[in-house]
Amino acid sequence: MQNFPAIVAVGRTKFGEHYGKEPEKLIEEAWLAASRECGVERKDLEACYMSDCFLPITNKLGLEEGFLSELTELHVPMEVTRSVSAALLTACHAIRSGAYNTVLVGGIEKMTDRWDKIRDDLMLLEDPWSYYAGCTPESNHELMLRAYTKKYGIAGGNLKKLNTALAQIAVKNHSHAAKNEYAQYQRKITVEQVINARKTARKSLGLYDFAPISDGASALILTNSEKAKQLTDKPISIFGVASATDYLNYPARDDLTHFSATKLAMINASKMSNVKPADIQVLQLYDQSTVAEMVSIEDLGFCEQGTAWKSIYDSCQDYKGYYEVQGKKLFTNLNGGLKADGNPLGATGGAQLFEIFKQLRGEAGARQATLDREPRYGCALEFEGFGTKSYVSILGRNHA
């Protein structure tokens, strides 16, 4: 057995608006939940990898490691990344190299503290040239949708079906979130609501097609495989982690209809883990928009390019809790996805891993994926920016 790093415990806060809680309070809550679950104390931590995208802007916290040190009374190495997946990737490398045995991986974001300016910040950091030309965080998704429908010649009745499929993605995510006590929006919505919001916006995508602005934190404890066995009966191993990078400027990219970085990251994560898309049952996608969820299913190799919308449409005619893609059950965004669970950028990846961890251990309660037995492999896809960075993590269980 190779030394695959394993997650032994996860914790998270509710996502949404946390007026009353400082960023420190949020990460403390997430860390304590994870600590309680596996009995790892702060003094057991050999390093911390924390992610946040905006704390220097939203909360004027620049040297985030410092407040984590104050919070934990630890003086171990700490590093800050922009996403939990990036933190996880770095932590996995460190554990595989043998540098550390037990590390904390966490993420935190408090975007609502800058509610009125956050869209400018998001867009400016995501793609400055486009921002200067007037782009909004939503525009690139709408352009990608237009590029997609043009490239695959989707028109007329098919276009109507595709638009319905996109609406169903949002509806599906909300229905999952209704069973998730941590989710930002624990209420159901209808296809009509999604479509009416598009009419109000006078565009192909509307309010319900996009992930919200959120606050929240998430944490997980990562150990080497030996240590994991001591701490829990059901560790969840990280079999593959990989990332890839694309241009900052979306118009300048070679492919406007897909996220090239996702394709590359999936190839490498798949190679590393020896897990193929066909083996994966639980999927956490980075649905910044409904379009991103649709396109990502193709980018990860679950189906042919230009066809995901059909699978989604058919699956949602009588939704049974999963997409049926190429005759396979694909449990997608069971926590509600970014759309309904919430999207506090720096913490979002932690919530995705939280969900996969729970699902693979069969501990997801009402949201549990309904296979004959617990699913074996899960895959999380996380972006930084508009697909500028793409991280794919493939998780699995060793226990029976």
């Binding site: 040239w129 007037g134 352009l143 006078r202 400027n249 300048a252």
Partner: protein, 502 residues
């Protein structure tokens, strides 16, 4: 505080849309690059700059922005998309400008996709009043709209004339108008101001004259609506239009703004003419631009009476001694200290001396400069073919022309105040452009500007036969701007909002 390094980087690159091309494999990149991604290290120093400023692109994809980011809120609803150049080798983000999209209006995006667009030089977004005004050329207009695509072809300047004169000219105004009674007045779009008008007029003048922009040794910009109290418009014009020899991001040109109310630009024609004639100057061409987003307080407020006539636009003239289309035969200027119209430092709008602006101001000065100039050349009114009076409102120029003995057909064609509004520093220059658009060779034009404060410059011009040859190059004329089928009329509230800008 603005992020200065980013602002500077963007303003260098973004004011004039540029790209890079690998001289080895031909791959093109939107941003300035030192290396080609295909060729790697061997491409170092082998990347050439691709200038897209005079080119046209294609709108590949677009969407509607109904809830812009904070700095774009004054643009309200606009079309944003991806524009490609060189058959898709270069793709850039861009927004369509000069479009007012109503809150209930739906836009047929599919009909816009695939259309040709032209990069425009505009304000980028809103900033605080004390900040540097950021500009960009990632704003586009549809190529077949009021702004046709014009190629900039440099031609050799052959024939040298005895007298210096106008080598080429350009005129610019926006696509928007307010119509009240019989008067139409030009209204800038939200992202336009006197700087963008000066650049546009200068660009058209370069295209018309066919001179190499590197030959321009000096540029004068006359305006009374510069967004800055300190910082010239002319420096922006010089950089965007690449005037003078370019080396290390510097333009080998002298650029200066002038101020004398409405005659800030016309005053400099003689200086430009003198400069190109002075053998020691080494300057082949000089450019004079008059452009304004004419300021006026809202109606009912002090100074609000100006709001009835103010317009937007300007004209630019390239002066030189070769391939002249109108020689400058002579001039006469008068000045007196007459405060008929003024704006104190820090005040947003000018004040106006009421009936005092008539007889002791406009009429007295214009009458004097014209009669003195005609006296110097022993001319009678019938000896000149065209008379271009300064035109702050529809009544004054007619009255002064009649008083001086000119017949209707000599001056009516120059009167554009009914179509452009009073474009302040651009006012008599636009009138002159209107006459140059229709004049024939060997005709005499007399132009008299007026600037409050007060003074008047009268010039005597004689057209040459090159006027007709160069006319073929000119797609944007006063007539085309006035009769443009794409003109859009706006109501008073929209007019004030657009005029206030970003």
């Amino acid at each position: 505080m603005s992020s200065e390094p980013i602002e500077r980087r963007v303003s260098y690159l973004g004011d004039r849309l540029k790209a890079s091309r690998c001289q080895i494999c031909g791959k093109e990149f939107f941003e300035i690059r030192d290396y080609c991604s295909n060729c790697g290290r061997k491409s170092y120093m082998k990347m050439s700059s691709v200038d897209l400023f005079y080119e046209k692109g294609k709108l590949e994809l677009c969407t509607l922005v109904t809830e812009p980011t904070n700095r774009f809120t004054k643009l309200e609803t606009f079309v944003y998309g991806i524009v490609s150049f060189h058959e898709g080798k270069i793709r850039v983000p861009g927004r369509l400008t000069d479009q007012i999209i109503k809150p209930d209006e739906t836009v047929d995006l599919a009909a816009l996709e695939g259309r040709e667009v032209i990069p425009r030089f505009r304000r980028r977004y809103s900033v605080n009043k004390a900040d540097v005004v950021p500009t960009i050329s990632l704003a586009f207009t549809l190529a077949d709209e009021y702004y046709p695509h014009q190629e900039y072809t440099v031609s050799e300047q052959n024939k040298e004339y005895a007298l210096p004169g106008i080598v080429g000219y350009g005129v610019y105004t926006s696509r928007f108008r307010i119509k009240e009674g019989n008067i139409e007045r030009a209204v800038p779009f939200t992202d336009e101001d006197s700087v963008t008008a000066a650049v546009e007029a200068g660009k058209t003048a370069l295209i018309h004259s066919g001179i190499d922009s590197a030959n321009v040794g000096k540029v004068y910009v006359g305006s009374e609506s510069n967004p800055y109290a300190v910082k010239p418009i002319a420096s922006k014009v010089a950089q965007v239009l690449k005037l003078g020899e370019e080396e290390d991001d510097l333009q080998g040109v002298d650029a200066v703004d002038t101020e004398f109310a409405c005659k800030a630009a016309t005053s400099m024609l003689k200086d430009a003419a003198a400069l190109v004639s002075y053998p020691g100057s080494g300057i082949k061409n000089a450019m004079v631009i008059g452009a304004d987003n004419s300021q006026a307080a809202p109606r009912g407020c002090p100074g609000g009476e100006l709001d009835l006539f103010v317009g937007y636009g300007g004209a630019a003239f390239v002066l030189g001694k070769r391939d002249v289309i109108a020689e400058i035969e002579g001039w006469y200027s008068v000045t007196s200290d007459t405060p008929d119209f003024w704006r104190r430092d820090g005040e947003p709008y000018p004040m106006h001396g009421g009936r005092f602006t008539g007889d002791p101001a406009y009429f007295k000065h214009v009458r004097k400069s014209v009669t003195k100039l005609m006296g110097r050349f022993s001319l009678k009114p019938h000896d000149v073919d065209y008379f271009v009076p300064h035109q702050p409102n529809p009544a004054f120029p007619v009255k002064v022309a009649k008083e001086l003995g000119f017949r209707d057909e000599q001056y009516v064609c120059s009167l554009q105040v009914n179509k452009f509004g009073n474009t302040y520093s651009g006012c008599s220059p636009v009138g002159l452009a209107a006459v140059l658009d229709i004049a024939r060779p060997e005709e005499r034009i007399l132009i008299a500007s007026y600037g409050s404060g007060a003074g008047s410059d009268a010039y005597l011009l004689r057209t040459t036969n090159q006027l007709l040859d160069k006319r073929k190059r000119q797609k944007v004329t006063v007539k085309s701007l006035v009769e443009n089928p794409f003109t859009q009329f706006v109501d008073y509230t929209t007019y004030r909002r657009l005029k206030a800008g970003m």
